[in-house]
Amino acid sequence: MTTFLGMPATAPRGVGHLRGDQPFPRAAHDALGDSQLRRNLRHATTTIRGKSGRVIAELPDWQRLRDAGSAIKADVMSRLPDLLAELESRVTEAGGVVHWAADANEANRIVTDLVRRAGSERVIKVKSMATQEIGLNEALEDAGITPVETDLAELIVQLGDDKPSHILVPAIHRNRSEIREIFLRAMPGVDPELTDDPPVLAAAARRYLRETFLSTSVAVSGANFAIAETGTLGVVESEGNGRMCLTLPDTLITVMGIEKVLPTWRDLEVFLQLLPRASTGERMNPYTTMWTGVTPGDGPQNVHLVLLDNGRSAVLADTVGRQALHCIRCSACLNVCPVYERTGGHAYGSVYPGPIGAVLSPQLTGIEDNASLPYASSLCGACFDACPVKIDIPSMLVHLRDKAPHPPAERAAMAAAAYTMSRPRLYAYAQRAAKMARIAGRRGRGLPPPLSGWTAGRDLPEFPEQTFRDWWAQR
């Protein structure tokens, strides 16, 4: 065995969806050329910002709830081993089975084995970021098992042979007429007279999936939270596809990142207020299901929980970056981000797009595999303001930029600047030398090669005729 036991490890390559095919600037360049995409995104993010702002304003204690949410998450991280062990005990006592998956490959193997053992060739799925992250659908298909996404947006993505582009609304990049075309093309048995009226599209999905819900014996879900104190798991949703998957099958397999655990039942009173208002802009989402192990005679009688690391321990090892694990996947930071609104989610290359993705993906994979993502931001800080658990994303972006590989010339120039600026005499000489630059390169022309790249998109500041130090010395 070549791995050292106990060393935090990043998510392995060759499996899952945390790495893009091309760096962010190139992918963003392509996305920016798609004017339909930009119109769809602007419309959708403007709508959700308005809704969210209105329901948040109804709560007089929103900021205090954010403080509590942030503190609960920090507390969770500080005693994660104990909480996970407690969760395991409570789930097991309640009749559930707990599995531990060190990475995506192991999680996929555990789930595939469980489905096989249940004797099913098909699973129904509740939308889950963790299973997207590990590429579970591909692993199941390789094993001859058909995964059926039941969330409307995931269904649109799956039928369109597309990739998700938003944490909450994976088909946010599609408008109603595009969705109609996808349904007409790929939904078996669809009414050819289908219109692009949203209620009509939703009804088509209801008809299409009803039979599948009733005839599939295994479901796979994620979890929005797990309560260590009680062993309770919860899924927050809207359509009722979650209730179908969590209620009808005999076997329920839940894949959850280890950071999702909460210490006490009472902690839910904070997160059930923060999540819906920050996420869909509702006072409460239409449906939330909570289950504790097995309830005889009601719902699945075989209940499994797969606890997933897949790079999370590596994120936890970074004292600045570990805050990224506080994320409750509401996607508020995507909806307020000026970069996301223009490029969309695909440009980020990972299932976690937007500001939180720009700090989470590079840490899960190791910075070398997502080195351009910490630059996918103007550092405007809107994400920090919008985050319901107050994750300081801008500070983490700066921290990760520093950790990312830099060209040797840039490193050398920055080191020289730091050396000069910390020595007053040297700095004075440098200022005088800078006056010479006024003569060498006049304003508007930029720097000469090899530094011309730096000024291609920036104006070179005009140097004053007299420095402050010279003026001071003459007084």
């Binding site: 509590a68 081993p81 949203p198 359509e239 009173e269």
Partner: protein, 200 residues
């Protein structure tokens, strides 16, 4: 299985070598018991999320439920529903098949708790609410609420509920925001939610 367990726990312990000490959680938000429940707020919030609210006396429950089920079929009830609420011709769940449940014209249940501020009803699988599946497959859910079951806020509801029971929090009928982030009512769950608020 057990080796991965130890591996992951060891990794986490190694990641926490700096031994971070978390500050105490500030809970100066409005805790349980801050406000008394306001029935008018609940009714307003339910209606805002497209649930239909009816104020009825206990003696009117059966007739109202039968009317809401309409011509569509008989009313399904959980085995422990109070006898005086049961409409004539209703049938009780005794382990019915999903097909039989889905064919009901409506399902009539009680509730465990309702949250005024968010317009939410919570079911906890008690005998007067039944298995989770019976409130999922019929297209019409009629839910009876006693005024003393209404609490003001989410913390009040959490304090009243037992997490060992299977819980379903319902805020309006099934809906989606997946098409252009506009809310559309009616996807997989019941497309019609009627709340019968009993007179106190």
């Amino acid at each position: 299985m057990s080796t991965s367990r130890e591996l992951i726990l060891d990794r986490i312990r190694a990641a926490l070598r700096d031994a971070p000490v978390a500050a105490e959680v500030p809970r100066d938000y409005r805790p349980a018991g801050t406000n008394t429940a306001d029935l008018d707020v609940l009714i307003d919030r339910l209606a805002d999320y497209k649930a239909e609210v009816h104020r009825v006396g206990a003696g009117e429950v059966a007739a109202t439920a039968a009317r809401l089920a309409g011509e569509g079929g008989a009313v399904l009830v959980p085995p422990g529903l109070p006898a005086e609420w049961r409409p004539e011709g209703s049938f009780a769940d005794d382990g019915l098949t999903p097909e039989r449940i889905a064919a009901a014209g409506a399902v009539l249940t009680a509730a465990a708790v309702a949250v005024a501020e968010t317009g939410t009803i919570v079911l906890d699988g008690s005998p007067d609410q039944g298995r989770r599946v019976i409130t999922l497959l019929p297209d019409v859910h009629v839910c009876v609420l006693r005024p003393d079951q209404v609490v003001a806020s989410v913390p009040d509801a959490i304090a009243r509920l037992d997490p060992r029971r299977p819980l379903t929090w319902i805020s309006g009928p099934s809906a989606t925001s997946d098409i252009e982030l506009n809310r559309v009512e009616g996807v997989h769950g019941p497309r019609h939610l009627h709340v019968l608020v009993l007179d106190s």
